[in-house]
Assembly symmetry: C2
Homo-oligomer: 222 residues x 2
DNA sequence: CCGTTAACGGGACTCTTGTTCCGTTAAGAT
DNA sequence: ATCTTAACGGAACAAGAGTCCCGTTAACGG
């Protein structure tokens, strides 16, 4: 993500050397300094470009210019915008913020809802998330990366719900993942299908609705 | 939508004649027979193409070939894929199915949830909806058309909730639109962020959760 | 039925996107 | 320090998307 402090051993996705001869060595090539620097610069440029022109307007040639990298390099290493998005999502998944621990289900869910709403409402982050969602509907690899990304995020917050179950606030067979998803869902739906703003009121309503439904047992397993 | 039985007076969106001279007549040109036929053929072709290659892979030249229409015509009348999607969405908005009237809030909401789930799970309809959502995040005109589309759909089902309020099943100041949206939201969220199937169980859970939250007063106004 | 002109359609043209070729640079091993 | 070669980058090339020009077709008004 960030240019310099990227993990230097970050491996490119499924990439073959220049001439992918049929009998080449299996894997693990040369991920050191320069390669990592190029990757970081391109991913950073991709973020900028996504915010400005969205996924549909993404052009690998333009990316190369922004990242001050050879056009050929970008085409060779990622090949398609979808593959690049998958790589970017893998990078994003490593930056989840830690969940809240207020001790109250209501406040934990509200904290989550407000975080999501703030993220989606933020000009840069919001545009980035929309672009990434778009990419996932266009490219299979990006879709898988996106699913992993949300799995990581939801798993981070699920313990809030599990703790509430433990405390007896919710039915014992409540599915924590479903409750966390129920908090985000209305916010994403609103962003996509209406032009209404994602303010704190909307966030709190989403959290409270999820909590009420969970208490009523709407998210019990099987 | 369908090739032949399209309304013959369907107007193209904001379109100027071949040479948009500054002092031309205001509007309402010549929407008769041929024009309407071309529009229907192109919109139909657009649906097919969206299902096959998605919004990102949409190419106006290819559309012209599919619709057996001059390439120039497509570029002139719509100009961009976004404008074409806006036109397609306006067309789709006229085809809402009527809401359920079971007399029970629970069954009405379940009927709505199952309809949404079936639509999104359908190979053709689902792909079309995903493509349209993508278009809305890429193009301002398409976004507005999409908002109108969902407003129409939600308004069709809102009376189910209003009737339940009338019957005393829900708090009197419940916002019917928000309840209807709460039914769809988890289904869209699931489609986008996980690979899980949209089956009847998921639909029923979405409906029941929305109902429980509504009963608890989570969707009261102000 | 006839005239006017909005709208259509073919073909040439341009500019952008993506690929290929090959020489250059620097990572990693000895 | 030196060698090997993975990975980078420039330039030429091919393919395709979008635009322009201008002749043709068919709505709509009289």
């Amino acid at each position: 993500m960030t240019p310099e402090n990227a993990t230097p051993d970050a491996p490119a996705p499924g990439t073959a050397p220049d001439a992918p001869a049929p009998g080449t060595a299996p894997d693990a090539q040369r991920p050191g300094g320069r390669t990592a620097r190029v990757r970081a610069a391109v991913l950073r440029a991709a973020e900028d470009a996504l915010v400005e022109v969205g996924f549909a307007g993404l052009d690998l040639g333009d990316l190369a210019r922004r990242a001050e990298v050879g056009r050929t390099t970008v085409y060779r290493r990622w090949g398609s915008t979808g593959a690049l998005m998958a790589d970017l999502l893998a990078d994003m998944a490593e930056q989840s913020l830690p969940r809240a621990r207020t001790g109250s289900l209501r406040d934990d869910l509200r904290a989550n809802a407000r975080l999501v709403a703030r993220t989606l409402a933020d000009p840069r982050q919001g545009a980035l998330f929309r672009a990434v969602l778009v990419a996932a509907t266009c490219d299979e690899a990006a879709a898988e990366a996106l699913h992993r990304f949300y799995l990581v995020r939801v798993a981070e917050w699920a313990p809030c719900v599990a703790d509430a179950v433990e405390r007896g606030e919710l039915p014992p067979d409540t599915d924590p993942f479903e409750v966390v998803r129920a908090v985000s869902a209305p916010l994403y739906y609103r962003m996509l299908t209406t032009g209404d703003p994602l303010d704190e009121a909307a966030a709190d309503r989403a959290a409270d609705a999820a909590e009420a439904a969970a208490r009523a047992g709407a998210y019990r397993r099987a």
